[in-house]
């Protein structure tokens, strides 16, 4: 069943379109997918974008860890659209192809970087059990620091919002894009 129709850039009122263009500048450049839906509520879109813009500039974390959290959120939610957008960014940030592939295939990845392993274990437990063991918490704070741990939880939480919009409203991979989670 068709779900929510994506509003096309030219269908927005001029001020909303201008806001949208500003928002997507660092997000692929085209008003589409979850941001086309977010812009149905322009003030909300503006605030969500301002908050998530900080993930690029104001976190104490290395980008490979940020992107690992992002692709794990995409995988947990089966959000193929988000995966397609973010898996290349994870690779560019230094997450190994083998680890990305294992996450896609829902296998256990191995990591050379103990910080990546700590992040993987953290979200694997959170999504699987809604809880984190003492050992995983200890490894996460050792790898990330207290501030970094709080930051990465924000990243994962925000991409859970994006991913849940994608799956609930039926945002599909663009024509010709891979179906990474097809069974």
């Amino acid at each position: 069943m068709a779900r929510m129709k994506e509003i096309k850039p030219e269908e927005f009122d001029a001020p909303v379109r201008a806001l949208g263009e500003k928002i997507v500048k660092t997000r692929g450049g085209t008003i589409q997918g979850p941001w086309a839906h977010m812009l149905r509520s322009p003030k909300l879109a503006e605030k969500a974008a301002a908050y998530s813009d900080l993930f690029r500039t104001e976190l104490s974390l290395p980008l490979n860890l940020v992107q690992l959290a992002v692709i794990m959120a995409a995988r947990h939610w089966n959000a193929a659209y988000v995966w397609n957008a973010q898996a290349p960014r994870a690779k560019a940030a230094g997450v190994s192809e083998a680890a990305i592939e294992a996450i896609r295939a829902k296998k256990t990845p191995s990591f050379a970087d103990p910080a990546e392993k700590a992040v993987y274990d953290l979200f694997n437990e959170l999504y699987g059990k809604q809880a984190v063991s003492d050992a995983t918490y200890a490894a996460a704070t050792k790898a990330l620091g207290e501030k970094g741990l709080v930051e990465i939880l924000n990243v994962a939480g925000f991409y859970s919002i994006v991913a849940s919009i994608v799956v609930a409203t039926g945002v599909s991979p663009r024509p010709g894009a891979p179906q990474p989670f097809a069974s």
Partner: protein, 183 residues
């Protein structure tokens, strides 16, 4: 094991403390719970709270329906602090006690209102399956409108972020609160 201590005002910089007071002023009067963890990254917290304020007070989603999503999120994560902090707001918003109690125990509530049911089903199905059925989507769109569906997903996801902070960093419940999810 003790987890991350909540930041106390005495440990904060002047600007952190000013932000903490501004956030607390709109909430319970003191900075507490997950906000006392987020404040470790001041810029992130400022924009998270602007986003959260809008989700609480600015959207088209009726309070009652927003509170169903918030309580279902607290329940999914067994986030005692969130439950303790939000159940009073849920009562103020007009949620009937038996509905609140059913959300707490996880029993399927008996709904008096089709909109209540649409929102509860949307959120719980998402959390359980990371997907929703066509009928669930259709009912949610009927109850909330398209803008409201997007807004509600943001509300649920924002509280998911806070719930993950609570679960991972071990935010204690409010002093004197009765455990909601023990056992």
């Amino acid at each position: 094991m003790a987890r991350m201590p909540l930041m106390r005002p005495a440990e904060m910089s002047d600007s952190q403390r000013a932000l903490a007071e501004a956030i607390a002023g709109k909430r319970s009067g003191v900075i507490r719970g997950p906000w006392a963890q987020l404040i470790r990254n001041e810029k992130l917290t400022a924009l998270a709270s602007a986003y959260g304020d809008y989700l609480r007070d600015g959207t088209s989603v009726p309070k009652r329906l927003a509170m169903i999503a918030v309580l279902a999120t607290a329940r999914h994560w067994k986030a005692e602090y969130m439950w303790a902090a939000q159940q009073a707001r849920a009562k103020e918003a007009g949620l009937p006690e038996p509905l609140i109690e059913a959300i707490r125990t996880g029993a399927r509530p008996r709904f008096e209102d089709a909109k209540d049911e649409a929102v509860y089903t949307l959120v719980t199905e998402l959390y359980r399956n990371q997907a929703i059925g066509d009928a669930t989507y259709a009912a949610a769109e009927k109850a909330l409108g398209q803008v409201g569906v997007v807004e509600l997903l943001n509300i649920a996801g924002f509280y998911t972020t806070l719930a993950m902070v609570i679960a991972a960093t071990g935010v204690p419940t409010i002093e004197g609160a009765k455990p909601a999810f023990a056992g």
